[in-house]
Amino acid sequence: MIVQSTVLAAEFPPSVEDFYLPSILPWGAENNYWFTKITVLAWVAVALIIVFFLVTYRKPQLVPSKKQWFAESVYGFVRNNIAVEMIGPRGVNFAPYLTTLFCFVIFMNFFGIVPLIQISPNSHIAFPAILAVISYVMFIYVGIRQHGFVKYVKNSLIPPAPWFILPLLIPIEFFSNFLVRPFSLAVRLFANMFAGHMLLLVFTLGGFAMINANALLAPVSILSWILTIALTFLEFLVICLQAYVFTVLTASYVQGALADEH
């Protein structure tokens, strides 16, 4: 925490600019985003996940080793508790993508509380937006392939309601199904990660601000730092929850697209 605050040399209160770190290559350049801490972390997440799964699943055994069991239980969790639970037997086909999504989101989120890293790429909306767009395209594509374009649009726009309410319901359905869904998916994840990082910044930097302002405020500073640790645990909860929510919502959208009736 101390290292981070001295490295950032951030002033109190923290601002949005604290999320936009200088470029690593070329070193220190502002507004150059190809090679920043954020993109590096994204690559690291991808690399770690790939290495983890390839190493643990290089030689699968019928009776699994501990590592293999762990990798299987990650996949099994998403497969059985999200994909099959939400979508039904056909959910097995979506389990690989949903597991990939889940692992990616939870790893990226997790950088938010790793000491000395402590920022999640998902606190930049670009990453949640990509995932949300993929989910969006996926559920619409699945729906059209299942029902055909016209029937799918009809299914998803026209709820079973008396005809005279339909003029009111159809725009609402359209708005909620085709406009809000990707946006809410992306913003929910992004905002949680953003707010989490901001909270940690506020409590960490606030501690420094107080102890710098007056030495008598030192106990309050310490309380503030203790709270930072507590909030880190809270963040851990949020991290897991958001990864789960993102995956479950994607599965639920796919389920809605596959369902026969509204």
Binding site: S15, E17, W34, V46, L62, P96, T99, I130
Partner: protein, 187 residues
Amino acid sequence: MITQLFVVAEAAAEETKHNPILPIWQEIVVGTVAFSVLCFVLMKFVFPQMEKTFQARVDAIEGGIKRAETAQAEANELLEQYRAQLAEARTEAARIRDEARADAEGIRQDVLAKAREESDRIIAAGNEQLSAQRESIVRDLRAEIGTLAVDLAGKIVGEALADEARTRGTVERFIADLDSAGTAGRR
């Protein structure tokens, strides 16, 4: 959420440089490529493999259960068979025992009858022998008594002229002879 809105509002007031709700296109490119790589590797090499392993495991378990069921059925059948055989053997043994008991009784009766017959026969033979001996003894005695009587009569006639004392002596001598002859004959 509230914090985020607050921060956004504050940032908008203070800074116009970055808007956190607008994605940076370089990051979109990087994120897309990175996530595609991840999807490609995991969905092509890892998770299908896992599905295969799951399937193999299910097969193995179901096969095992089926094998166990077959073995169980076989064992039950064998058990039934053994039980039937055992019951059969028991009745057979009981039958044989009864037969043996009946045989033994028959044999005992036979032996008893034979023994009784034998003893009867022996007794009869003894009786016969006894009566035959008695007959022959009586016949011998009769012949001897005749001879003796003749002897006595001869001696009495021969010494009739002697005195009475002598006569008496002769008679006594004869009887003593008779006695000793009788004792010797009896022996």
